[in-house]
């Protein structure tokens, strides 16, 4: 008799045979408002039993591709630097084995160690970033490493012209100014122009980071800092369709689901369905 296997929907391959490696990062230490994203990974796994393995949007089937789910990384709870190092080591190993990383957050700060690992392999790395919040602060509540500074830290690494933000509708004035002065590309409030950016980056190595609070809270209430005025799920699906124009997506993440706040359970389903589409994108 076999041991219980609660891998994400149909992603039951072994590590060695897989092209995509799914993992989750149970960390929300720097979350400043409502915490709880640490529980996202397993919530999505259990909920994924209820979604189909076939995507009518992409006409692709999870069962036709090899994906391994290695579960929650084991982190020293509350020790931020040590936790980020473990994420970084994990991604380096995945890249070394010529697989693509697909990460479930956790808070948004977990994107940083992935980007640090990717840039070593892909020095010309670009980031497409969907989010309600700029995350461009230089420091937040006395911390350099924070969910609210994570894209600024990525900018420290990548420099100007490499980060493309969409859906942004919350932040401090100086963060918006950073975009105005051209350090990052920022589209406020919606996803307009994404197709042009995709066209522009089509042969570049691109990392896609999706903070699920880019969705309107009506669609995705289960997150720590819901920000009214966001996009619909159809708009997110449309963006994922647009991403198919990229020839070199080198990894991706979905962050900021907080299951404790998801009273109707629908946010977890939204995240699971979005994850199915993203895994299929990485296999394309």
């Amino acid at each position: 008799m076999k041991k219980v296997d609660l891998s994400f929907q149909s992603c039951k391959a072994e590590y060695n045979e897989s092209n995509v490696v799914l993992f989750s990062v149970p960390m929300d230490t720097t979350t400043s408002y409502r915490p709880g994203t640490r529980f996202a990974g397993n919530a999505i796994r259990v909920e994924s039993i209820g979604i189909e393995w076939y995507s009518p949007y992409k006409d692709m089937n999870l069962r036709d591709y090899k994906t391994v789910d290695i579960g929650d990384l084991e982190l020293p709870m509350g020790l931020v630097e040590d936790s980020l190092e473990i994420v970084n080591d994990t991604v380096k190993q995945i890249l070394k084995d010529n697989k693509k990383p697909m990460m479930i957050g956790g808070e948004h700060l977990v994107t940083l160690p992935v980007v640090q690992a990717l840039v070593q392999k892909y020095p010309d790395l670009h980031i497409i970033h969907l989010d309600a919040h700029t995350d461009l602060r230089d420091e937040f509540l006395g911390r350099k490493l924070s969910h609210a500074t994570v894209l600024r830290r990525c900018h420290d690494i990548l420099g100007d012209g490499r980060i493309y933000q969409f859906g942004i509708r919350s932040g401090d004035k100086h963060e918006f100014d950073l975009a105005k002065s051209g350090h990052v590309f920022m589209r406020k409030f919606d996803l307009e122009g994404l197709d042009k950016i995709v066209e522009k980056l089509k042969d570049k190595p691109v990392y896609i980071t999706i903070d699920l609070d880019v969705l309107d809270p009506s669609v995705f209430p289960g997150t720590g800092t819901p920000e009214p005025g966001g996009i619909t799920f159809k708009e997110l699906l449309s963006a994922m369709k647009t991403f198919e124009g990229l020839n070199n997506v080198v990894g991706a993440d979905l962050v900021e689901l907080a299951p404790m706040l998801d009273t109707s359970n629908v946010s977890t389903i939204v995240a699971a369905k979005a994850l199915r589409e993203m895994i299929l994108l990485l296999h394309k």
Copy 2:
């Protein structure tokens, strides 16, 4: 002093004087994911106290029409065939008495016995089907009779060219292929083209079956298998306006509300308001 009467909003006529007969079917035996639609009927009844009897969309008033509410049918819990037979008998009686059936599910399988009864009276019956799911499997988890096969069973009865699906966004690949090869009409993801179909069917006998999960989960979280990427309530209202172009609507149902999952209670209100509009449509 009179006994308590918890008929749906204003539908307090006696059976004999009524043109429309409202009933609910407390069955969710074949539900494969989250069950609980068995409780929909009474939840809608109690909640309907909070909605208006006047519809500004149709400029019609429930109080001006005769509708009887006969409540939940009494079913042998868990015995699928026996339960369907009771629904079938009930609808046959309603049709014999020259009234129109308006059914609240329950899971979607309850549509089958209604269609079986209707086709005897209206051999040229057509179905308009709003849903997130195709429900076109030939068999599901070892069952021929299932919420996931119900439209396939209807197709067995009606044959090609009689079923028109809208809003579909989930299913197995072979189900979508069934539509591609022309056995049923399927509009994926939205309701575009509904007006043309209504025009085409305007003098046909038409049964309308609405799986409320055609709505986006933001609008209607209280259902067993929410499927992100659905339509808005305004789009559903617009469809109901379009339905007025049909000259021979012979019955209708609203299925798949699961009150246990409706933490904010809003899904039940959505169902109640949709039901008001559907009853008025049947009286038109």
Copy 3:
């Protein structure tokens, strides 16, 4: 050491130095369906810790303006006339001190005493009213003073041509007839034409009353009588942008948040963010 200060986000000025006075009215006595709006004020205050003080929509910052939050008014619970008088006295004092009132309801009836106070100072007062419900009944459940009659009472004071309603989708037939016969302006179902009305009223003294149930229940489930088919938050933000065309907004309110019904807490966040935008509008 200083006493606890739970003023709404950044609105921590003293009364004398303030231009805008924020207060809340914990009254829901005439609520006919699900009560609980009495708790809205403090729920918004506590939740406001989680929103930004900077608005990217208006490029304005709450910290740059002087606003005082005087909290819940102390009302004799359940005594309608006495409670309204206290609201009226409060607003008269605010006007006398040359400040603008920004009110959080409570049920919608609390708008009446504000209008009564304002019209003394601004005889040419006009009202822009966003709501799902007409609130134009002459009497409701035996009461002249009710959440369902409040705009009718305002009409008694202001007369024809002064009230402009948008988003209306529920009421009794005779209420809609009142608009048809031209006593009030009514735009059903959405906000179309708001820009024209704003242009028309740009130099008039205008009071803006927003019943938050004008929003679709997917966006704002936490209210006593959710009414499916409403506007999105983006549409509400757009209306607030349009309001900037008014040169003389003399006060405003946001009513009908019922925190007990807000299981996901998102409605309270929606109200808090809308309130930030309205306070900034009053400071413009």
Copy 4:
């Protein structure tokens, strides 16, 4: 075909043949904290489908007795005096027809018009009162008629030595003093000594009023003013057993269930089971 019948579990007799008349009073106008008891009656009706008609505690079966359920009384929402008069008229009619009243609240104030009606028929009326709160204030928030004054109003009618309170653990100091000076009998915190009081009153006409918040909030969270430190459900059942020592129970009520606050639905089940026991007691 028969109209829907949602009478409380098995209580489906007609009025004329019944010995006990069940009704509910949807009023919570004077509730000072969290409102919503207006919805208790129908919530209990719908939930009662899930409980047994046989009581192993009393070895009696609801089906063996004739009880009619006349549903929610129709009240003019928010008009306290008018509402109480309707309750009073209803009970007078029930008494005239030689039946016993069994009332579901609503807030506790609804007990007053029942007592007013009963005392006319039974001048020697006594009251046994289970509650967390004394309800002995002379006035509350400017009102003589309030949930917080209802037992004081009963005392006005009945005088000293007629009211026996148990389980009391909240109130103002002067209310506790009223008991200390002997005007009413009060047992604080628990039900000790109930058997002695029952023995003493065994041949008197007794009305039993149970504010369900006498139960600990762990047992009964679904109420407006939960008061930690209450009794268990077993202790309540034991009290109901003790009540069998009374030879002349002339009526009873269960008040203060607030279904909106009953997130787990268990409080409604507690109320339904308690109601089954109370109806059986009245039939004894």
Copy 5:
């Protein structure tokens, strides 16, 4: 890198090396009231991350024993007989391999195939049964196989004097009569006398089946048919201590957790902690 392992807390052994085999049965087809126990197994697994592996009650540590968790059995949804056969086959294999079965329900009917398998190996099998409900009906809603008949079916197999029930407080009169006439031992309402029964059965092969609704709904709201008036968790722990007097516990189950109804998540934690104690008991 290793695949995700979501075995119940510390029970991460391989099948071959284990003495106890944990499995869950996602079946609730015959549930007559609120369904959802099909989700119990994985809910307990994920929640078990939050409980300790050391039991201060037994001074034993899960880590010191070999237990395998084989997860949810794969069942043909809604086909009762086929599902029970799969459970039966699984348990037969476990017994053949000289291991002990520890089952998580699902509805209570899943106990039957375990008992059928056990009695083949242990003809002198006895059952200790903790429950709110008798489950002794001969037939329920037209079914011989039902959660409400399961102990009657066990009695068909084992005969008189083999079944010992505790905590019973709900059922039909004829079920209680079955106990009165001596066919089964029944202790109503509480666990008194359990120690004497344990003493009596100490050298017999005993199966322990615990319907978690034996607990009071205040302790365990997350179940389909909560029955007020139950035992506390301390009383359940005390029973588990008493069970240590049994020298031959041959298997056990915990049934009727319904996670969809567990709004506070505490019922799932209660089940997880009870499961830890039961696994340790089987290892004793």
Copy 6:
């Protein structure tokens, strides 16, 4: 007009005139399971509007004593050492001003800086500790400073014989061994013997720290790590009565309420009522 004042029930004195200083610590950084205690302070403040200022248990009235509420301390989110220092500084100032500190957590680690401040003034300090968990680990998840080590850190300061634990029912084996070998006094599972300890410590300076998860989860579900098998609220009240035998209570805290997990809101009410009793104890 005065600014909003949301001090805890009746505790509206100014700092200088107060004998007791109430403050809350919004920190849950080291919480290993479900976070969210950072929100406890303001949740209790808002909820306290619904409780009485008079205590029938102590026959004392909050209004008769001077207490100031200084609100949430402002902490650098996620920086543990810095946050603890701020708590320590605050308490030192309170002690210097000859007032008593009453703290609301936050996670349990916040007790440490209070004890550090108190021991400087009261070298002979003793601690009475009510909790489900030992909190005696030397290190937890790589941290010396953790909610799970806090009493061990207190032991480092105070040494043997100074810490008295009650209600303990969860921890690792070596923690229980620490008590067995006499370093701390530990009463497992309940509060028996508390009166003897109080008698023994009656003239000592005593700090009382109450982790509210000492209560059974049925009473107090709203906490991060509910531990079934706890005490009732009546037992906690009884302990508070017993504490009156102490002549020198120098401060106290209530920790581990997590409002996000308190779906029924009852845990917040439990905490508010317990806080009222504790404040009165400090004034005694």
